[in-house]
Structure formats: C-alpha cells, structure tokens
Amino acid sequence: MSLKDLNIVVLLKQVPVPKAMKTKADGMMDRSGKSMINPYCNAALEEALKLREKVGGVITVVSMGPPNAKQSLIEAMRKGADKSILVSDRLLAGSDTWATALALSSTIKKYLPDTDIIFAGLQTIDGDTAHVGPQVAEHLGFQQVTYVDKIELEGENLKVRRFVEGGWETFITPIPVMLSIHTAANTPRGPSLGAALRTSEDNITVYSVEQIGLTKEEVGVAGSPTIVSRVLNVVIDRPPVELFNEGSATERVGKLLEAVNRKEESS
C-alpha cells in the first residue's frame, strides 16, 4: 500500500517585513504596514507542493489574520496551492498561541475533517514561539514531528528527518501528522505562470469566529491563558567597547590580550 491523493493543509501566517516591525500604542504588533509570508511557512508550503507532486491531492492553505492577509494567500496559490481559508474576525485580536491553535484546529475540524497532513512553519519571525503547530496537532490528536528538513514516502507512512540537539533523528510516522518545517529544508519556488492564471480571490473562503464554531469567550484576549503585561525597550547596559587601534599589530594585540585578562572591579 502507498499514499495517494492526500488532503494537505498548510498553516500559513502573514508577518510584517522585519524592517517594518513596530508596536502600536497598546503594545500590540502593528500589522498595517508592509507584509510578507512568514519564511518558515514558505518552506512548509514548498514541502507540501513537493509532496503533492509525488502523490497527488489537494493543498488548502489555512491562515488566521486580518483581511489584508489575502495577499499572502493569493501568493501561495500562485505558487500552486489549490485553495485557501482565512479566519478573520475582530474578536481574534490579542489571541495568544493557545487561542490561535484553537481557532486553527476548530477550522480544520469543521471544514477540512479529512486532513491527512498538516504542514506548519517551524516558527514565525514575529511571534517566534514554535507553539502553534504542536498545539494544533494536540487539539486534533495528530502525530507530530517538528524541525523537519527531509521527507520521504515509506509505504503508507512517511519517513521524516528532524533536527535534535547534536544531530538528527529519522522517524517513520503514520498519518494523520503535523510536520513543522525548518527553513533549511528547501529553497521555496516562486509563482508559476499556470498556477497564477488559475488563481482568483474566489478561491479564498473567509470565516468568522462564529462560523468556525467558537464563541467570543474562547478566542482573542478573553480566550487566551496568557497576556503581555508590559513591553520595555532593551537598553544595552554594557560599557562602551574599548578599542586598541594604535600602534603595530603586535602592540595592539598585546594590549588587547592584556585587557582581556584584567580582572573586573565590579560585577
């Protein structure tokens, strides 16, 4: 037996481009500026596309975010994803990873109940937690492998390699499974002409909190077990660097090494 015609989900998040990252007055991320697909999610999409080339099937991109996240979903479909779901609702504002994972898993349960494989990015560059993939897997009772950089077919199972401290482990895992993908796994492709021609906003379905079967108590700030209580600017408290730029190389290096060996008075 072997895997065929899989129902594949890619969890994809739109993030601010690093240079445009800023906070609003309330300390929350300002998402109105220039945005892009989270790089790790791009790597996840690439693995999904490669897998579909081998076994066939349908790729649905699922994202939670503001209405302007549609532009990233269109970009994903131009690369070859078949359709997209955007969960978008003001009630979702302030969701922590627990509430985000609940919203995403509820969406998959209700609208994509036959999902075989979920691809997630290892982490996002804005939230940077690596929580959401494993938490979605827990809510759905899926197997999981994170930090994945290699995927092969193995009968009706998958053979995947993950990074661990000091090396790699290779697993045989049954489906349904959630795989979180490391950017080291691949170089994501750009849009293809054929896929771009097929892409239309009609292939994006937008759902509200009510439609995915949740209440306002279960999402957003109300449904989040954690909150950000305070944000401080980081001040670098190191004294300024001491430079040794005068004299011959021998003298400079000599003085530098002498300084390194000097005992600190304080701390």
Binding site: W98, Q143, G166, T170, R238, N245, A249, T250
Partner: protein, 371 residues
C-alpha cells in the same frame, strides 16, 4: 522618580482585591533534558534559576522531572544542583526522543506534582515537547524566555490582584524589546527558557532530596512513531562546554577559517578549552558545518571569552552569544553592530590581527578564566 507617586500607585494597587487561583498548586517543577543518556547542560541551568525563584514563593519545593534510559543515574546530580525532589521516568524505549511518550510522561507527572510553575528548556526538543504539554494541560506557555521573576500583578479592569504571579520575560521584535508575559489564571504557569542564559548553581554534595520513581500511564499508541536512524556525534562540537570561543563570519572565507582553526588549536595546546564558532552566513556559505553555528537557529553559548571575528552582529547572532562574559570583536568596519556588544575590539582586517594572536598564544599567552 517621585516616590510619592509610587506610593500612591502602590496604595491604589493594594486596594484592588487579592485573588489566588492556584487551588493548591504550589512550588516549581522543571524538566531536566537528557539526550536519552546524558544530561543537557540546560537541565542544571534551569534548576539554578528555579532555586533562586523559589525564594519568592511560600512553597519553596523545586521538583525536577528527568526522562530517559536509566534516568535514575541523574538524580544525585540534580539534587546537588538544587532539586529537592526528582521524578525519575526511566524506560529503555526512551533512549531516543519521541513526542507522545514524553508528553504523556510530563503531563502525568505534572498532574501528580501540581506545581504552580513549570519550566522547560527552549531547545529543539523542548520546543517540540512544551507546547504540546501546555495544550494538553490547557495552560498558557511563554516561549524562549531570558528573564524570570515572581511578584505582584494587578489587573484593574478585572479587579484582580495576584501576589505571586510568574513574570516571564522574552525578547521580541528582533530583540529590541523585552515583553513580560503573565498568566496567573491557569496552573502551572509555564515557560520555556533559552539554554545558556541562566547560571547553574555550584554543586553541593551535602544537599539531600527525595527520589520518586514515576510510572506514566502510557498507552500503546504513544509509541507508534518508530525511530529508524540517529545521526549524532561524529566530530562532536562542544560549543556549550568551551571556555573560549573563536567565531568567524562569512567574509573570512576558507583561508580565514583555517587561520581561526589554527588559533583554536594553539589555545588548546596551552591546555585551555576552546572551540570554533561561526555565523549562519558562514555556515550557509559552506565554510563550516552547522554544528558550529551560534545564534537563534544555532547554539546559545555563554563562554568566558567570545571572539567575534568578521561578524557583523546581526540580532540573530547576538541572541546566541550576548551572555558571554567577555566579548572581543575584530572587524574592518568601525560601525559594525558587534562593537555595541563587545567589551574589547580592534578595527582592522582580520589578516593583520589573527596571525599576531596566534603568535602570542603560541608564545605562551594563556587566558585567565574566572573559575
């Protein structure tokens, strides 16, 4: 700062009614990571921090949960480094990490220990394990923290004052901000902490503690994933154990990295523990293997002395080395960001500096280390 204003604020805060939702949860639990057989250095670092934090709680018990093959052999080490109690979960099948058996083990243990705080390591394994445990326990989780505290938290809107909230601080927005995350509504309040950030305690062989042999209620399906291959070790780069790290960036090229290796060898020849590090750009350029990489997606290190040679100082790199005791930067660009976090530096081409370093080390210069 006006102390009158602070006093008035404190008075207002204290007027908010105190709530305590701990419902009997008390003390701190930590996960002591192993690679199946040996303890990860972070296991002891977290324990040190848990010990310090416990001073701010009524119940000062620190429980360490250790999982692996023959895990009982670590109990004594954990006790000497601050644990009052060690939950040992030992099974031959735990030689390699697999998510579901580990999640069951941690979740079952937490349900029995009932800590008010749970701390995991934010390693590649910890970042797989902790979110799934938190989801199963229906508690919040704060990721990759670098500072922890316990103290009063007042929420005026909800009219709640907590006296022992766990304050979990993590860098955000590319390290430019430090965000404090709290969640004193569900217990245990949980966080993962970056390896290499906290200091372990000096071992105290006179400390005593309780060892509990714990049996999780595993089910057959927990073991369904099969580990078919493990690639570990080989050259075994032990950046975390090095006292002196010599790191290079991508512009050094092969020739530069050969020079850095010569410097490392010269330091080692003097009997000191040195290792070669690298930026991700250097790894990506194929100059060196990825087990040498320092930074966000590499290793977090805190050596006595860190040399950054031809490294620009991108935040992702700084994340991995900014807790080094002393930082030396050598860079041709006087405006390189690395100089903002360095203690000592030379602005010059590495080609002029490194050969001289090698010479002086070979002539017998040894680094004085604070330990």
């Amino acid at each position: 700062m006006s102390t009158d204003r602070e006093k008035a604020k404190l008075e207002r805060d204290m007027a908010v009614p105190e709530v305590d939702l701990r419902d009997g949860a008390s003390g701190i639990a930590t996960w002591a990571q192993t690679d199946g057989e040996n303890l990860h250095p972070a296991a002891l670092e977290i324990l040190g921090e848990a010990r310090r934090l416990s001073e701010k709680l009524e119940d000062k018990t620190v429980t360490s949960i250790v999982i692996g093959k023959d895990a009982e052999k670590h109990a004594q080490t954990l006790i000497e480094h601050g644990a009052d109690r060690v939950y040992v979960i030992s099974d031959d099948r735990l030689l390699e990490y697999r998510t579901l058996p580990y999640v069951r083990a941690i979740v079952d243990a937490i349900r029995e220990i009932k800590p008010e705080i749970m701390i995991y390591t934010a390693s590649a394994i910890g970042r797989d394990l902790a979110p799934r445990c938190a989801a199963r326990l229906h508690v919040g989780l704060s990721a990759d923290c670098t500072q922890l505290d316990i103290g009063m938290y007042v929420n005026r809107k909800k009219g709640q004052r907590f006296m022992h909230a766990f304050k979990m601080m993590r860098p955000s927005f590319g390290e430019s901000k430090l965000a404090t995350i709290i969640g004193p509504w569900n217990y245990p309040q949980s966080s993962t902490v970056r390896p290499g950030v906290f200091a372990k305690l000096q071992p105290d062989s006179s400390r005593t503690g309780e060892v509990v042999k714990f049996e999780p209620k595993w089910v057959e399906e927990d073991w369904i994933q099969e580990v078919v291959e493990v690639q570990k070790g080989g050259s075994r780069v032990e950046l975390e154990k090095a006292d002196i790290i010599i790191s290079g960036g991508k512009d050094l090229g092969r020739e530069g990295f050969e020079m850095l290796q010569e410097l490392v060898d010269a330091i080692r020849a003097n009997g000191q523990v040195a290792e070669l590090g690298a930026s991700r750009a250097a790894v990506n350029a194929g100059l060196i293997s990825s087990d040498h990489q320092v930074g966000q997606t590499g290793k977090t290190v805190r050596p006595e002395i860190y040399f950054a040679i031809g490294i620009s100082g991108a935040v992702q790199h700084l994340m991995g080395m900014q807790n080094s005791k002393k930082v030396v930067a050598i860079n041709i660009d006087p405006n390189a960001k690395i100089f903002q976090v360095a203690d000592y530096g030379i602005v010059d081409d590495y080609k002029n500096v490194v050969p001289e370093l090698i010479k002086q080390v070979k002539n017998g210069f040894t680094f004085e280390l604070d330990k």
